[in-house]
């Protein structure tokens, strides 16, 4: 465990059983997250990008230990999250919080905004008056006047306002790490920008570390320092946001960037870089999981999962096109 990382996972794996029949026997496994290792340094924003169904949300829930992994390890701030005592886990949970994607399902319809945010504080034994003061201050900080909105119920708020409440709820325990699972995907473009900017301000104010999950490359590029590209439960490429935007190596990452709608006419695509849907994660392809849609697939790709190789400092790619084996021939961009 390198001392520099706030969050570190090694070989994280989660396969969900698919049960069917009268006896509910396991028929197959959905390989949601397979051998994911990542490092998040204090103060940085790690973006995780990938198509829907690639295991991003499962990864978020694994990190927060809302879902128990099958294998692998999670280290947070020097502690093995999977091995701590329950009492210590409760303390650890203060330091890592989650903001959910769906602003409608993520707030209890029976709690006022103020109660929803204060709940976490009360769980950790805060006095009611203190919890209320802190909640009101935080609601003001995320842009909701506590006198106007504090006593309201979620259904009286817009999507953007609800997402501000979610952010306040996640921040009320003063966490070190915030995992944001598609925090702006359900919002209108104009509201997206407001919420993103709020998140960036809060990060600077409170010295936060973000794990930012999104399927939207433009959003990821805007907020992230480093980016992790996932495909069918595995990491295919990781590097700084600039490196990936300028010189992505993995054919999947290149296709992803090429397909993102862009305002820049030079980056507009002439033909779709990849077609079809990702294969079913129940029976992923052998070897490299992208090989079925890859223009550069070789016989070797079907044999084993390509290991991550460094193509530059801090830039890793899991593809046989790179590294010693093939001499590092680059596919044309």
């Amino acid at each position: 465990m390198s001392a520099a990382s706030l969050l570190q996972t090694r070989g994280l794996q989660k396969h969900f059983p698919l049960r069917a029949g009268v006896l509910r026997r396991t028929q197959a496994w959905v390989r949601a997250v397979d051998d994911v290792s990542l490092d998040v340094k204090p103060g940085e924003t790690l973006g995780i990008v990938g198509e829907s169904g690639c295991g991003k949300s499962t990864l978020a829930r694994l990190i927060l230990r809302l879902v128990e992994p099958d294998a692998g390890s999670i280290w947070f701030d020097g502690e093995d999250v999977l091995r701590v005592l329950p009492s210590r886990l409760k303390r650890l949970r203060r330091d890592m919080q989650l903001v959910f994607q769906d602003p409608y399902a993520s707030l209890n319809p029976r709690l006022t905004i103020e109660d929803a945010v204060a709940f976490s504080l009360l769980v950790h034994g805060a006095r009611r008056a203190d919890a209320r003061d802190k909640t009101r201050a935080l609601l003001g900080r995320v842009g909701l006047d506590p006198h106007l909105y504090g006593r309201r119920y979620p259904h009286e708020l817009s999507g953007g306002q609800r997402q501000r409440v979610n952010i306040a709820r996640a921040l009320v325990l003063d966490p070190k790490l915030l995992v944001l699972d598609e925090p702006v995907s359900a919002l209108d473009k104009s509201v997206q920008a407001q919420v993103l900017n709020l998140l960036l301000e809060l990060k600077a104010d409170r010295a936060l570390t973000y794990v930012f999950i999104s399927h939207d490359l433009n959003v990821i590029e805007y907020v992230s320092d480093r980016v992790l590209v996932m495909y069918l439960g595995q990491v295919v490429e990781s590097g700084t946001a600039d490196a990936l935007a300028e010189a992505s190596k993995h054919p999947y990452t290149q296709a992803l960037f090429a397909s993102a709608p862009s305002m820049d006419p030079d980056r507009r695509m002439e033909r779709p870089p990849i077609t079809g849907d990702p294969p079913n994660p129940i029976n992923p392809p052998s070897g490299c999981r992208f090989r079925t849609r890859c223009a550069f697939a070789m016989p070797q790709c079907a044999e084993a999962v390509p290991p991550a190789v460094a193509v530059a400092a801090g830039h890793h790619v899991a593809c046989y096109l790179y590294g010693e084996a093939t001499g590092g021939a680059l596919p044309p961009r």
Binding site: R91, Q97, Q101, A105, S106, N108, R110, L111, F119, V123
Partner: protein, 295 residues
């Protein structure tokens, strides 16, 4: 649609928004049909409660010479039954029994069923299978048959009626509570509470129960009228309340041979059962509409 008939919430007028239950109460107070049915229920309940003081005669004291007196007889306003007992007094006293036999099983089922349903839904896995499959066994029997079978095995009497009817209603409530629990459990605010370190008890109390009690309560309230009819039915069959105690179903049974002598008097307990169960149905309908608030 009630949503059109009833405003969502008066909060826009009052300024400060109201809590969920206060909004429900406010919406109920705007619903005239429910208010009328509710008032009727209140009157029936009060008259049953006050039977010892307002009943003009002893409900079990008969007069051989004054049997099956017609409605309107002086000193017997609603006539007398086949043993010459005052019908008004017997209807008032009988209401006590019928309401106890109708309401208690539903209250028991609401409490027991919610607890079992929440445990089954929240725990999931083996516990869920164990509870739900056991409930399915009871659920497989038609309600009337199950009530008759259990009452028949336990023997007649009020307590046994309550037990057998509770057994009929618990599995129904468990089903509703379980499916509501499973649905709420999967929502993100429960995950958020878990992520903030809340204990299972804190999650159940503040996030789960608050969101499932409403639907379960509405469902239970729809079962009251059925329970009243089943209780009366058991008494009618001689499996419920035993003579000479007054109970509407039992009164129907003992009066049924007299229907050719005097058709009106034997119909009175049936009318009482009909009006009471109808009023319960209307109130539960109104409750369902009032609780249908957009969230």
């Amino acid at each position: 649609m009630s949503v059109i008939a009833l405003p969502q919430s008066p909060s826009t007028v009052a300024g400060a928004p109201m809590s969920y239950w206060r909004t429900v109460a406010w919406r109920l107070s705007q619903d005239r049909a429910t208010l009328v049915a509710g008032t009727l229920l209140l009157l029936i309940a009060l008259s049953a409660l006050a039977a010892p003081w307002i009943a003009p005669h002893d409900p079990s004291a008969g007069a051989i010479r004054l049997r099956l007196a017609p409605v309107g007889t002086p000193s017997h306003v609603l006539g007398t039954d086949e043993q010459g007992r005052d019908m008004l007094s017997r209807l008032l006293w009988g209401g006590r029994m019928t309401l106890i036999a109708g309401l208690t099983p539903v209250v028991v089922a609401f409490v027991v069923g919610t607890v079992l349903g929440v445990i089954a839904g929240y725990a999931g896995g083996l516990m869920n299978t164990l509870i739900m499959r056991t409930m399915d066994i009871f659920y497989a029997f038609p309600a009337v048959l199950l009530a008759i079978a259990v009452s028949g095995a336990l023997g007649p009497g009020l307590l046994n009626t309550l037990i057998s009817l509770s057994i009929v209603f618990v599995p129904r409530v468990v089903r509703v509570a379980e499916s509501a629990t499973v649905q709420v459990k999967g929502l993100e605010y429960v995950a958020a509470a878990k992520a903030s370190g809340a204990s299972v008890w804190q999650i159940l109390r503040h996030h789960l129960l608050a969101n499932i009690l409403g639907p379960v309560l509405v469902f239970a309230s729809t079962q009251v009228s059925l329970s009243i009819i089943l209780a009366a039915g058991l008494s009618f069959l001689g499996l419920g309340v035993t003579p000479p105690a007054a109970e509407w179903g039992l009164m129907l049974n003992t009066l049924r041979q007299s229907i050719y002598v005097n058709a009106v008097v034997p119909a009175l307990p049936g009318l009482a059962i009909f009006v009471t169960s109808m009023a319960f149905n209307l109130v539960s309908d109104g409750l369902r509409d009032a609780m249908e608030i957009r969230t």
